[in-house]
Amino acid sequence: MSEVVMSISNVTKVFTTRALKAGFKAVDSISIDLLKGEILGVVGESGSGKSTLARCAFGITPPTSGTVEILGQTLAGKSRKATRELRANLGFVFQDPAGSINPRMSVRDAIAEPLMLAGENTVAIDKRVELLLDRVGLAASQLRRKSHELSGGQCQRVAIARALATNPKIVLLDEPTSSLDLSVQAQILNLLEELRQGFDLTYFIISHNLDVVSHLSDRVAVMKDGKFVEVGDTKSVITNPTHVFTRELISTYSRVGLDKREIPVGFTLDSWQNGPLNRWAFQNVEKFLPTAIIEPSLNPPSIPVAIDSAIEAIEIDVADQRFTFPELLADLDTDSIVIMRKGVLVYEKYFNEMTVNSPHLLQSVSKSILGALYAIMAQKAVIDVERTIGSYLPELINSAFGKATISQALDMSISIYFSEDYLDPQSEMTRLDIAAGWRSAPEGTDCGLRPFLKTLRIQDEHGKAFQYCSANTDVLAWLIAEVTGISYPELVSTYLWNPMGAHDRASIILDCQGLSVGNGGISTSTRDLALFGQLILNSGCFNNNQIIPQFWIDETFAGASPKVASVDYLQALHPGGSYKNQWWITASQSREIYGVGIYGQYIWVDPTSETVIAKFSSLEVPVDALHSRKHMALFRAIGRL
């Protein structure tokens, strides 16, 4: 076991400001030991506390609490002289090489300064400077130059020579190469390794550049919000990260920008929803549409898994045909499926580049999430669902929504001139897509959902008949953000995704004015959607925590009044069924409820067999009766098992 050269224990740094009385915890009780000769890399986004931690560790700023031992001694409470002597063991190299060298000093003086402060005589200083200059690869002719006469790479060499002047044991490298050309970066990285061996150094590297860190360091610590979320051997952290944040950091990093090679041929803003282009598009909406992030839970409990191999063996009879389970999944252009029974994940399968963690567009399944959010806000008495939409959003007072109540919007019983025809270029649905930025806008069209929603007109009396209209949900997403003063994605994260233990980052598409597209813009991982279904099945309760009010779940399962639901196509699909609180109610013997999105997206909750199924597809066409029948048959066959 190597000797510990720096021991950081329980270091916390709090910055207080007048505005923030409690203070901001930049570093939160971090402990780590640096071993002699090792290279420790600290990575994280900007603002995660990397630099503050390094400043505390190297005695530039005192920590609020906790201790740092350098070669067994602490800096705190020492005399000036003793502090200086101990500090001679530390070296620093910063990001901006030109900025960290005094422009009035020559190369020689810059390197000599720490030695002069240490009280060395001129002869010894000159000898040392000469040696260092040679070791960092600079010519003696450059001694008299000033920083503006040097290139960026040469400046960084001078900074490194200066850091090594007092013969330190530990060197802090804060973004040592991020302002350099790639080829110069390679020279500096090679130099750093050469010097580490030659001078017996230990490095503490901070960088956002994962390539640099993974190339150089032995160990990596991943930092987020002032804490280490993962520390370990570089290879294993980079190739097999365990924490959700590390996985994200690595995947965002490797996706720097958008890889052009991924985009399928023929992809345009008007073609992406159709098969087979939607196979790529539904998994990658954040690459071509503006989105906001829905944060998952920071420490999600793991999902119990017990794979039931019997599922793969079932056979399904539908439309005068017999399908094996894999055959039917393939027939329905499945991208992924997750099945949970009694709270245990019993089956999952991913196709077409989908993975356990990858997001997929929910389309109208997004609506079912909004329904639950309204229940939570109604319970908190923030929103009264019996009030009219116009009373909350005066802008909509003259539109179809002005006199409609929120609950009528939730149950889709608003009477409105709106054709939900996905393929008719003249339909209101197509115009809604254009307003949301999902299709290209013809010249002269106003962008944004708000101006479009204002134009929609009332047809007949509200509350009398079911009329499925996606615009209702967009109004509701707008309203809930307006009333609570919290953005829609943040509401989903705070009240649902975080408390229910979601594992992966979700997102929602925004229109050109930054308004969330509530009717169909959410993307989540398949597992997280299944967890949401499980939450509904568990009467809104997760880990002894009532997340969604029970009364609302009971109300949803009970369905809407038969009078409102007596619309032909709804009765043909589900005899006795209805639509309630943004969910479809089957009213079958098993009392399943479900959310469905165009091109085959489903969340299926079957309370009788206690089964939850989340399924994503990329079907050729938006709606098809046969596809619906096949899906129902598949889900019911799984429930019967």
């Binding site: 986004e45 900007s46 290139s151 960026g152 991020s178 050309d181 790639l182 080829s183 110069v184 970066q185 390679a186 020279q187 990285l189 090679n190 390794e193 050469e194 061996q197 956002h208 550049n209 390539d211 640099v212 993974s214 190339h215 150089l216 570089t234 290879k235 980079i238 190739t239 965002t252 990093y253 996706r255 720097v256 920008g257 958008l258 890889d259 052009k260 090679r261 985009i263 992809f267 803003l269 690459k287 071509f288 549409l289 503006p290 930025g437 290209s440 106003d446 962008c447 944004g448 925004l510 050109c512 004015q513 930054g514």
Partner: protein
């Protein structure tokens, strides 16, 4: 595929009192196709930015520019034509947004100046600005419009700059190291934003960067520039996976990764020559690990498979 911009034999000399002091561009040829991205890579001082400035007609009077610049719908253009075209059909975003904005006007005032050049009603301008700012992810539009450049972060400023450049719905965007002056994580976000906008708006892009891996991921075609000339060009995946020119090989070898042993990164030795006037033979010969006797003569650009390479060795 039709091209938006085609440059033939572009040369730039810097003169003082009629004497050529330096010739930083020595015959650049390139073509940007409609809706596609051409990435230009090379070290600092190879002439990447100079090419962009020469196209835009933004070089000082000491520069003598020769060669043809052809634009779709315009044919060959002169510096006079360019004064009318730039900022409308061809726009540019610069490395440092802090210095690209005027510090004494608010962002709103500066965006309005640009918007007014289009013939749109006053009432529509406000709407246009708001929708543009939100499309670049600046959702707090009121605050952004009322802010002076120093009141916004580098990332926000660069986004505002992108919003400004796209006000005229251009056909070509020249992005000169748009992320270099930004913090890396912010830089990545800005890069992604530009690409998203390219998909939704369909403009072509000339993307200039010294970061080969970024260009490798974002461009359709790549042009490697050394000492004022293109030394290798072709479809990006082809060049990235099978670089032929020793300079390209050097740039790619310099990318650090966990798989390469510490201290063994390929670093191209030496520096880019600073004075190019009267240069004879291959410009890379001084730094080339693979030089041969023939390198005293300048190698022509030859087609090898799908790339074009200027190296005597490429034929072997």
């Amino acid at each position: 595929m039709n091209s938006v911009l085609k440059i033939t034999q572009l040369e730039v000399d810097f003169c003082l009192n009629g004497v050529i002091m330096n010739s930083p561009l020595r015959g650049m040829n390139l073509e940007v196709k409609a809706g596609k991205t051409l990435g230009i890579v090379g070290e600092t001082g190879c002439g990447k930015t100079l090419t962009a400035m020469a196209i835009m007609g933004l070089l000082p009077s000491t520069a003598v520019v020769r060669g043809d610049i052809e634009l779709a719908d315009h044919g060959r253009v002169t510096a006079v034509d360019m004064a009318r075209i730039r900022g409308e059909e061809i726009v540019m975003i610069f490395q440092n947004p802090q210095s690209a904005f005027n510090p004494i006007f608010t962002i709103g005032e500066q965006l309005k100046m640009v918007a007014k050049r289009r013939n749109i009603a006053r009432s529509e301008i406000e709407k246009l600005l708001i929708s543009r700012l939100t499309s670049v992810g600046l959702n707090d539009t009121k605050r952004v419009l009322a802010s002076y450049p120093h009141e916004l972060s580098g990332g926000m400023l660069q986004r505002a700059m992108i919003a400004m450049s796209l006000l005229s719905s251009p056909k070509l965007l020249i992005a000169d190291e748009p992320t270099t002056a930004l913090d890396a994580t912010v830089g990545d976000q800005v890069l992604r934003l530009i690409q998203e906008l390219q998909i939704s708006e369909g403009f072509a892009m000339l993307f200039i960067s010294h970061d080969v891996s970024a260009v490798g991921k974002t461009s359709d075609e790549i042009a490697v520039v050394y000492a004022g000339k293109i030394v290798e060009t072709g479809p990006t995946p082809v060049v990235m996976n099978n670089p032929k020119h020793p300079y390209t090989q050097g740039l790619l070898g310099a990318i650090p990764s966990a798989d390469k042993a510490r201290g063994t990164l390929v670093a191209i030795s030496g520096n880019v020559p600073s004075k190019l006037t009267g240069l004879v033979g291959c410009s890379f010969v001084e730094r080339c690990p693979m030089r041969i006797d023939r390198c005293v003569d300048e190698p022509p650009m030859v087609k090898v498979d799908e790339h074009s390479v200027a190296c005597w060795r490429s034929e072997q």
